[in-house]
Subunit: 167 residues, 2 copies
DNA sequence: TTCGATGCAAATAGTTTGCATTCTA
DNA sequence: TAGAATGCAAACTATTTGCATCGAA
């Protein structure tokens, strides 16, 4: 089950602080949950559940993929974790950031650019003025061409399948 | 396999015209392909492959889901068909429109609003000015709250699973 | 010592693919 | 009648779930 509507972000510095939050929420602090948090803090950006179960390529203890998904859901519900969807491919998870990041993803080079919501307020304003629509780009990012790829010739799978690098 | 980067849209009025295009592309005109096109022309909006295989609820001949996917890919490659992704849930397919529709989808009521690309030029302009980014919303739509749902309280699965109605 | 969390395996959804057969051109 | 497209089944990816066991509080 995908997470219920996520509550407000709970931003913490490190695993220890996250553990405090978990306890304060009545959640149990298991080894598996520590691993999930440790991997997320060590990751260079949003990562798929599979990489978490892999211990980010073996650098951390492995855990069961099913439990990883369950823990991610739990951690997202309390606000410690967020996830987003980059085009096709698996969902990507990250620790919640101070300002609920939003994203621009290049369909050509798959670069992911994280921006703070205020940076998109002008865009959001236009959408609201023109369509009465209040957009959010934290869960389903803006897709298109980054500056570097603006004029690159289209290639197979520009609507692609693989998940991206991070900016 | 998802479609390779789709070529320019080929907009036609009806199945007969689509068949012409297929022939002109050296594609064979099979019963199964006629069904796919017939269903797409009869559909009220973008529909999942499954509904096409179902003959849109039995109103049209059924066909094999695997073949439907293959045909959709082929038809999309020649430009007769387009598909988009609404949040979670299956991809949705439609006959190519005159102006390569883009979409706004409400994460709350799941309404899908199709707009022509020029209507989003102001939004696109801001994105280009502010980030050097050229956005496109035809394949991965803008997600947020429509005017009606702007103030509705969040509910479970606002990041939801089901696919939406059409505007 | 209890109830929440885990691990494992099976189930599910969406989509793709291999292969023998069928049918279009 | 050659090669493209089909139908069916199996494979695959991402994710969820049931259940017996384990472990944190």
């Amino acid at each position: 089950m995908t997470v219920a509507y996520p509550g407000p972000a709970v931003v913490v510095e490190d695993v220890a602080a996250a553990v405090e939050v978990m306890r304060s929420q009545g959640l149990r602090v298991s080894a598996s949950r520590r691993v999930v948090l440790t991997v997320l803090f060590a990751a260079p950006g949003p990562v798929p559940a599979e990489q978490i179960a892999d211990g980010l390529g073996g650098r951390f203890p492995l855990s069961d993929l099913g439990s990883v998904y369950r823990n991610l859901e739990t951690l997202e519900r309390v606000g410690l974790v967020r996830h987003l969807h980059l085009g096709h491919g698996p969902g990507l998870y990250a620790v919640a950031e101070r300002d609920n990041q939003e994203y621009l993803v290049c369909e050509h080079c798959h670069a992911v650019r994280a921006v703070s919501p205020t940076d998109l307020d002008a865009v959001r304003g236009r959408l609201r003025d023109d369509f009465g629509f209040t957009a959010s780009f934290g869960h389903f990012p803006i897709v298109g061409r980054c500056a570097d790829c603006r004029d690159a010739p289209p290639r197979d799978h520009d609507h692609g399948h693989e998940h991206g690098r991070h900016a």
